[in-house]
């Protein structure tokens, strides 16, 4: 690494000097570097600093000596056609070839740096989809690799605009921010508006508003289902074979599965244990409202929390198979995406 950097820095020397000494200097640097670092870290660091300083001074002296060299006489300009020369300079002598090469390299380096900066900016932009714009988007958007995006869910993303929509995804590898940030500055106001932004990893496709709804494009719905099944701990645990269907046997096994999610062993499941997260700084009332909304929004949780108190009690856990069967609208004995995925917003007061 150091030798590569050193070789790179040697390009600051004038071409004539470089052609004479660059290889030798790199060899000597290599040997001296090994010797310095073999003596210890302090010697190694001192060596690096000394070499950097020496190189900077050396470059300045080399260029100063170069400028002392007598200028080349003006070259005979070759006419391109009709006696018009192809190259003019303000000086009475033509530039040295080394100067032209240096200028070319510097121009190329500058051009590359500017281009790289533009490319970096394009690939690392913070993709921000404001809530207002989300309503009009209506289409899936793809975040290219390297971008950071915000997936917005909120009141304005419900096509009907009727009531606020709470979609709090739990911990998921696709989400880089576990705590979901409110769009509004005022945390209480944010809670009441319930407009949220989820930060997603590069390469994650932004789903169209209402992707969870049956009418959404099939691709959005599939993607949403995949994320949903991994993000919601309760749903993920119930779907033991990961086929996005909670089968009859999985329904029967629900109490044991739910008990395994009871991290604090108090016999019940809270909203947090079910995958809900509360942004820091929320007041108690807002937190309570959000938890309640979370438990109501997700059909599986809403069914399990039969008394709608925002928690799945021990009794409700025992009664889980019966509660889950209430979601089975076509009575085929299993829960499919139509039964499991959220369908509409929940109005929160």
């Amino acid at each position: 690494m150091q030798i590569r950097l050193y070789r790179l820095l040697l390009h600051f020397y004038p071409a004539r000097y470089r052609s004479t000494f660059a290889q030798e200097m790199a060899d000597v640097f290599q040997l001296a570097r090994q010797r310095a670092w073999s003596r210890g870290v302090t010697y190694g660091m001192a060596f690096c600093l000394r070499e950097l300083g020496g190189l900077a001074l050396g470059v300045m002296h080399a260029w100063a000596r170069q400028s002392d060299a007598p200028a080349q006489p003006a070259a005979q300009l070759t006419p391109a056609f009709d006696g018009v020369p192809t190259f003019y300079t303000c000086e009475d002598y033509s530039p040295r070839r080394s100067a032209l090469i240096q200028g070319g390299v510097l121009s190329l380096a500058f051009f590359s740096a500017v281009t790289a900066a533009f490319e970096y900016g394009v690939n690392h932009r913070v993709f921000y989809m404001p809530a207002g714009a989300a309503r009009d988007t209506g289409q899936s958007q793809v975040i290219q690799t390297g971008e950071t995006g915000f997936l917005a869910f909120g009141k304005s993303m419900v096509p009907s605009g009727d009531g606020a929509l709470v979609l709090v995804l739990g911990k998921h590898p696709a989400l880089t921010a576990i705590d979901i940030r409110p769009a509004a500055r005022n945390i209480s106001e944010a809670w009441s508006n319930l407009v949220w932004f989820l930060r997603v990893r590069p390469g994650i496709r932004l789903l169209a508003p209402g992707a969870f709804q049956a009418a959404a494009p099939a691709r959005d719905r599939e993607d949403f289902a995949a994320i949903y099944f991994r993000a919601m701990p309760v749903v993920a645990a119930l779907d033991a074979d990961h086929d996005q269907v909670i089968s009859a046997s999985e329904i029967a096994n629900a109490p044991a599965v739910l008990r395994s999610l009871d991290k604090n062993h108090d016999g019940k499941l809270t909203a947090e244990e079910c995958g809900g997260s509360v942004p820091p700084g929320s007041d108690a009332a807002a937190t309570g409202r959000a938890k309640l909304a979370f438990m109501r929004f997700h059909p599986v949780l809403a069914a399990l929390d039969s008394d709608h108190d925002g928690e799945i009690s021990a009794k409700e856990i025992e009664n889980a198979p019966a509660a889950l069967k209430t979601l089975d609208r076509n009575h085929d004995g299993k829960l499919t995406l139509e039964d499991i995925l959220p369908k509409a917003g929940v109005k929160v007061q």
């Binding site: 000097y17 004479t20 000494f21 030798e24 200097m25 060899d27 000597v28 640097f29 040997l31 001296a32 000394r50 070499e51 300083g53 020496g54 190189l55 900077a56 001074l57 050396g58 470059v59 002296h61 080399a62 000596r65």
Partner: protein
Amino acid sequence: MRSIMKTGTAAPLSEPVLLILLSLAEQPRHGYAILKDVEEMSDGRVILSTGTLYGALGRLLDDGWIERFEEQESSRDRQAYRLTGKGRAVLQAEVARIRQLTRLASLRVSAKEA
């Protein structure tokens, strides 16, 4: 350095240059050997960076005090440096100047002590 030879006066050499010339006065050496020898001669006080060493070597080559040649014994194509007659003359002049200065300093210091 160039002015020294033009005027013929023994303007003092910088310590790194003097040590490089002294190193080459003993025998021809390549860059890394000069670097180590200078450090040893000065008891670790003068540690040249690669940039400083080759800056000095470049000037000495331009002034004709040293010359560059390909080391025959080396398995690689390694360049080595040796003093020219001109360089040896400059070095001798500098050593004479230092010797004179040292003698003068000794006389003055001993006279003061007496």
